[in-house]
Subunit: 420 residues, 2 copies
């Protein structure tokens, strides 16, 4: 079989372990030098392909590629840029295929979530129609954990570990202060529509370390009176209460409670600020002194506290993506299949992109306790294995040592400029 | 010499390593069982003494005491409660001495900051005047790093490590997203009056890992036009900009920019919210998409990322406090004396409380760069050793395993109730 080049791009919000998948793809491709020539990466994701701004990963030393294993965020840059419908903007797909053809790209590895699955599927279909078939594989990545079919999404386990650890630590702090000072601590976490990260906060509280916790899921419409009664009961029983709230918390009318008015490039509302809102509500109604934290990017960039399980899976999906492509499996995604909770066992299977594109997997109702403010044993059984294991980055002078690549540009061949 | 009991209390905001000092005091006291009988801890700090709610640390196993080494926050509870002037409220001091006398307490170890130094000094003076002299030693603790005489304060090094690591991680995230999305990231950090923690954010950027960083110190009055020009220049040069802002940022009139209106028990304003204010300002004036984080308690409770140097020093001051007390040194504090920057070397000396009580050590102006938005080499030389070394807590099922003590109450002897 002829040797072809590969194109790899990172898409959407980055994670603590997306570079682990990049590392796996590059190393596995290098192991198959007979079939895969160069691995090019898009500078700033798919925009790099559209503008013919490709990075030659072959210019990076094996040591630099290895360092991706412990470096958070997107080493080649990501973007929030969704390709339009092919019917609406055929020029975009035409351009993509032109660039792929010019650089002899036969494999397209797209590292992203729901939107990326859609793009990946379309590239596979349109490239075939255009007579230049590109084997397209989605490499799953999203801290929101909302991709269907796969048991979990690389990136999520590390965020889960971060938010559960952070809430446990803050709870110890509040417990110390509650006698005369702070009694309420609110932690706002990510997760636009699905409450997976909110559920992970629930792991902070367990049999060894009970913590009075109230969770506000995006799936459960906010009921002020019931919420306040729950918090009040916790403060009365324990002297303090910790609240984990999703940035996507909605009111009874289905409206986001922290709607900031601005939207991102995908038309999603830009969120933030429900944490302080909830904290001041509790203060106004129950009179307790509060503190609140909004972890924001800290939660998804925290490679220093990544889950070893998550890292292992991020590597596995990257490696499987290359193997699938070489086996001729097109328009698929390596999915993580859980075969046992305890001991935790999993394997990689392939899932067709038709079953993934644009579908969000919500938190099942039976993961949320009957009262709507906690997690069930079923949720714990699901979540607990995903945060297991520590895998610390190297430190230098007390701070984590993260890699920056050279990111050498590939000489342009198409030449014609393309406005995005 | 007669055997006397010791009283230990934690005061004010807790830290990731205050329990390390507690561990050192208890273990060192146990090593001197010929001179020190019981070590009693105040439940919720000095309030425990006033209400005769003492905890018998002798009921804890050696293993439980050892676990304090890796457990954040205050294991016996802390409080925000400042004793009034003795002239204004002599009953408080009378009561304290009554409780000390009833429980044969000859040593008072107070683990706190500026306010606690004041209390500790007064207890030493008044107990002597009342004919029941109590040897009183302040064990330094404050994330604000604002105690005079000592080179640094236990608790600060770990916060410094946390904020510098978090900013570095977030910067990698923003750099990935900046092409089409977030260009501005704002991290709000603690530090009411002194910009030590803000300065520590500056460590995120170094020669190995350059990061476009703008710091807003509480010492430098906010100048909107100059700040925006600085941010604009960074975005133009690097494509993105990270901003570290102190909760105590003031305007030109010396007014807190995020004044929340409410005050804590010491009369300090309760802060929070300058992070989002700065972020929206940049968005409104320069048009860049932003994200912001407020780490709040997460930064001071983050035992999972504590500085090994900080832990070593927290232990050293606890141990020295007991040694000082046994040597008859009264109304003193073990101070950390730096003898060399590189290699970093330090020792413990004793400092009189008169030189410490109620004095705040501000960040020297020559630690802040000429333009007011960065740190100098002098600041780096000071800060860098304090964040060095990792000392991870044990993990169980993917989360840090923190200890909770039994905290068994000592039977009351005074009996009379005392209203605080």
């Amino acid at each position: 079989m002829a040797k072809r080049n590969a194109f790899y791009a990172q898409s959407g919000g980055v994670t603590a372990v997306i570079n682990v998948s990049a590392c796996a793809i590059i190393k596995t491709a290098r192991d198959h030098g007979d079939r895969i020539g160069k691995v090019y990466a898009g500078r700033n994701g798919i925009i790099g392909a559209l503008t013919e701004d490709l990075i030659d990963t072959g210019k990076e030393s094996p040591r630099a590629i290895d360092a991706l294993m412990h470096t958070p965020a997107g080493a080649f840059g990501s973007c929030r840029y969704k390709l339009k419908d092919a019917a609406e903007n055929p020029a975009q797909y035409q351009r993509l295929i032109d660039v792929f053809r010019a650089h002899d790209i036969g494999y397209f590895f797209y590292n992203g979530g729901n939107d990326s699955a859609d793009t990946c599927l379309k590239v596979s279909q349109i490239s075939a129609r255009m007579g230049y078939p590109v084997t397209s594989v989605l490499v799953p990545k999203t801290v929101d954990n909302d991709l269907p079919v796969t048991d979990c999404c690389p990136g999520f386990g590390s965020v889960a570990k971060y938010v559960a650890t952070s809430m446990r630590e803050a709870a110890f702090d509040v417990a110390s202060m509650a006698k005369t000072s702070t009694r309420i601590f609110v932690l706002e976490v990510m997760g636009r529509h699905a409450g997976w990260i909110t559920a992970a906060v629930g792991l902070a509280d367990d049999a060894d370390t009970p913590i009075p916790l109230v969770l506000l899921f995006p799936e459960i419409p906010f009921d002020e009176a019931r919420f306040l009664a729950n918090v009040d009961a916790k403060v009365k029983a324990f002297g303090y209460c910790c609240i984990g709230v999703s940035e996507g918390l909605q009111n009874a009318e289905g409206k986001l409670m922290a709607e900031a008015g601005s939207k991102d490039a995908f038309g999603h509302a830009q969120l933030g600020g429900i944490g302080p809102l909830i904290a001041t509500l509790v203060k106004d109604r129950l009179g307790h002194k509060y503190h609140w934290a909004v972890a924001d990017y800290l939660q998804r960039a925290a490679r220093h506290l990544a889950s070893a399980t998550d890292i292992e899976q991020a590597y596995a999906v990257g490696k499987a993506a290359v193997k699938f492509a070489l086996a001729g499996r097109n328009a698929v995604m390596p999915a993580i299949v859980r075969t046992s909770d305890n001991p935790y066992r999993w394997k990689i299977d392939s899932a067709p992109l038709e079953k993934i594109a644009n579908i969000e997997k919500m938190l099942p109702r039976n993961f949320i306790s009957a009262d709507g403010y906690g997690i069930t044993l079923k949720a714990r059984a699901y979540l607990s294995p995903l945060v297991r294991g520590e895998d610390y980055p190297p430190f230098k002078r007390g701070l984590p040592k993260y890699a920056r690549l050279k990111n050498v540009a590939v000489p342009k061949k198409v030449g014609i400029e393309f406005k995005i």
